[in-house]
Amino acid sequence: MASNAQGSHMKALLVEDAAVETLFHSAILHMFHCETTVAKTGKEAVDLFLEGKKFDIVLCEKEMPVMNGLEAVEKIRAIGETDVKIVGVSVDCNAMEAFMSAGADVFVPKPITLDVLSAIIQEIINKKNNAMV
């Protein structure tokens, strides 16, 4: 499963405040050879983009202190980051509409599985490879 994404070396931003999910999702991203940065609030995530950091994929939880995921996604898009793949994640299955309205590309209900993330990452890799041709 992960072999398709081997060598991808993608830059991932994990926006998550819960310790267990941070550990779990970081491990999934690591399995797909992603260089992962963790932001514990939406504000930290937005600040990273404002600092000029670039990411291929953002996994963004909805509920966080200081700035929630929905607001963070809106702000990330508003500053012109339209290429980065933003994946909204939440244990609240009703969060899909809100995330899509905010500008996310896809919503994945928690718990995230390896299969689901593998497909998303492979899509990004394919897109990057096509762009290089």
């Binding site: 819960a18 267990v20 779990f24 999934i28 244990v91 609240d92 928690k110 599985t113 390896l114």
Partner: protein, 151 residues
Amino acid sequence: MDYSNLRRQAASMKKGLFDQGHLDEQFRQVEDLQDEASPNFVEEVAVLFFKDSGRLISNLEQALEKYPRDFNRWDAYMQQLKGSCSSIGASRMKSECMSFKDNCGKGNVEGCMGCLQKLKREHAILRQKLESYFQLLRQAGPTGAATRPVM
């Protein structure tokens, strides 16, 4: 020491956790992330889960006392716990989280209190069972050395 017997016991214990509904398929997702580079990953996640969920349950108990009938606040606390339970595959605990949230939605204080008590029981049961399971796994490991993390 009969390591193969210990491994059989551990496998049987794990099967029991699934059969009794304590764990669901998500736990296998966590196991799939364990490899040579992270040989104790599952136990690390479990240790972190019980530490974190214990804290969240404690915060929730305080909130129930300090903020009576503040269902939005109670729900928000439970949302985070539900997420952690989902990620590790703690199925029975997750069910109680969902029941609690349902009761918040209905404004049912007694229902919330009852769910919280059940949640605490499930938390204690799962913690004890997984602690035993990991202890067996450590004993059954190739080196036989057992280091005991604090759950």
